[in-house]
Amino acid sequence: MSDITLDRQLVSEADTLVVPAPGYWKSVGQRLLRDRVTVAVTVVLFGILFITLGAPLVTHYNPYAGSVLARLKPIGTPGHWLGTDETGRDLWTRLCYGGRLSLLAAILPVTISLLVGGFLGILAGYAGGFLGTLIMRTMDVFYAFPSILLAIAICGLLGNGLLNSIIALAVVFIPPMVRVSETVTTQARNLDFVEAARASGSSTLQIIRHHVLANVLGPIMVYATSLISVSIILSAGLSFLGLGVTPPQAEWGLMLNSLRQAIYVQPYVAALPGLMIFATSMCFNLMSDGVRGAMDVRLNK
């Protein structure tokens, strides 16, 4: 298979590119590292993850042990650098331990909806026809309710508690997840390379695995990351309303609610759980923006 002589033009065209190109994910990583905002935001997120998971390392207080004498101390009090809450518990400790539940209650629903919604969406997008219509119209029913109302309704139905708030949020996030993955799958399915793979005799499963998933998982993951930022706010909102985590457990939304009464006494201390919710949500949002930008090959310089 080598008896062909290349004409001169072909060879000159072939010589124009000489630098070996990095792989796709490697080039995504390189672009991410060049993006300062994404790097900074990722560092902050890792910091939050460290103080929550490694809470015993950064504080020696018990998050549930209060002191009547040390109630509602301001920020900068010796021994309680972020002050104390209405029952005299160290706020820094509460924030660290509270992040565990807040992050769990935010990330788990997104993970569940990613698995369920992603599966249904890819199925609907690839199969199309009756099955696709059935899945998509069912999801449209959920769209009829505003997301926070739907979450409150489900929580009200199931009763409060961490598990129920996770279930409620997962149900809320599945429809948009299905819709996003259905859209990207439909787009990918209609591209010629999927036709070419069919024409080469590949089975449906092989095509989904090698051609559809590879092109669809990126955008779906980016969307899931941006959903985490919504999820943090919604899950904090649910526990703020008393539908999620129950006292005396530490959770940012719940802490915000209980410190609400102290807002005229210690406004800065009362704002701290809200600040954590805001910062974490913002970081996930910016990170998903950065990853989205880095994954777009056509923006490649």
């Binding site: 298979m1 080598s2 008896d3 062909i4 290349l6 004409d7 033009q9 072909l10 060879v11 065209e13 072939a14 010589d15 124009t16 590119l17 000489v18 070996p20 190109a21 792989g23 796709y24 591209l191 010629d192 390379f193 036709e195 070419a196 793979a197 069919r198 024409a199 080469s200 005799g201 590949s202 089975s203 092989q206 090698h210 051609h211 590879a214 092109n215 090959v297 056509r298 490649n300």
Partner: protein
């Protein structure tokens, strides 16, 4: 036209079943109508007659050109041949075996011997796969080992004029349109097919690159003993590439025959109008035929009888009555392999154009 003779002394393909006289592809009464759905219950409200009862054959070793305006059913025909679309009716016989028939050849076995190159070089390559991965994909799915598949991909890359050391590990967005189309050709050749369908394969390339790719296709056909179905709207390119030409209009074949016959003596008024629309630089060869005006009729509700009659200046009442069959021209001196679907003798002979 003499390609069949030239190929006879070559080593016969082990997969050849019918011998050189058996056409590689016989298509009979192939029909594809797309439903247009609408209304309350998603009912079929209309039908697009994309391909309507077409029959043709492709001989071993030849290039069959298919020309026509956009929307005439060229690409649908290609997809029907590859079974990317299921035909409504009609049969396709590949080297003597009916495709999809129990006693014939299975669709997947047929696809190993028939491959396709698409028009859009960018969307026809998976953006997440390197060139070598894309080319090696089909052989690997058919059970070839990783090492062998990549070796084959690299030798195919150099075969289509791309140095594998530079291009094997590149991604589609890092290549130019011409380079990508070379990779698409290599990918189509990876299963070592006998028939390659080129669906507007050079239409999106600029002229100098187009010429290089056409030369590459000619070389590959020679050295790999290929048969081509070459679909294009570019009359010059079809003339350059084809042994025989088939002209389509609104889902039907209006004229078919050897390339020289069709280009020198076009018989169907549509074919002549098509040639008249082709600009010429030679003042002595200016055509006198009126170019066509207006768009082709809507394929949802095509004219009865001859579909060209609404734009044909020779149209007579009987043209509306029945669908004209492909038959030898009325002119007794014509090549008998030249077929034309027109009932009106004047229409077949009037204002013969003089082309190169």
């Amino acid at each position: 036209m003499s390609t069949a003779l030239q190929q006879a002394p070559r080593a016969v393909d082990a997969r050849d079943r019918g011998g050189p006289a058996q056409p590689l592809l016989i298509v009979e009464h192939l029909t594809k109508h797309f439903p247009v759905r609408g209304g309350l219950l998603n009912r079929r409200v209309a039908t697009v007659q994309a391909v309507d009862d077409i029959s043709f054959s492709v001989r071993k070793g030849e290039t069959l050109g298919i020309v026509g305006e956009s929307g005439c059913g060229k690409s649908t025909t290609a997809r029907l041949l590859m079974r990317l679309l299921e035909p409504d009716s009609g049969s396709v016989v590949f080297d003597g075996d009916q495709v999809g028939d129990k006693r014939g050849i299975a669709v997947n076995d047929m696809r190993r011997q028939m491959q396709m190159v698409f028009q859009d070089s960018y969307t026809s390559l998976n953006p997440r796969m390197t060139m070598a991965e894309s080319i090696a994909y089909a052989p690997r799915m058919h059970g070839l080992g990783r090492r062998e598949a990549y070796d084959r991909a690299e030798s195919l890359l150099s075969r289509v004029g791309l140095n594998p050391r530079q291009y094997a590990r590149r991604y589609p967005h890092e290549l130019s349109g011409g380079q990508r189309q070379r990779v698409n050709i290599a990918r189509a050749l990876a299963l070592q097919p006998r028939l390659v369908i080129l669906d507007e394969a050079v239409a999106a390339l600029d002229k100098s690159v187009e010429a290089q790719v056409l030369n590459l296709l000619t070389d590959l056909k020679q050295s790999l003993n290929l048969t081509y179905v070459f679909i294009s709207h570019d009359l010059n390119v079809v003339e350059y590439m084809s042994d025989r030409v088939m002209v389509m209009y609104l889902g039907r074949v209006v004229e078919a025959g050897p390339v020289a016959e069709i280009y020198r003596h076009p018989r169907h008024p549509y074919t002549r109008a098509l040639f008249a629309s082709k600009p010429t630089l030679d003042p002595d060869r200016r055509t006198t035929e009126m170019p066509l005006t207006g768009d082709p009729p809507n394929p949802i509700n095509p004219p009865s009888g001859c579909r060209f009659r609404t734009r044909c200046r020779f149209a007579q009442p009987r043209c509306a009555d029945s669908v004209p069959a492909l038959a030898a021209p009325f002119d007794g001196n014509a090549d008998p392999t030249h077929l034309v679907a027109c009932l009106v003798p004047e229409a077949q002979s009037a204002g013969a154009v003089h082309h190169a």
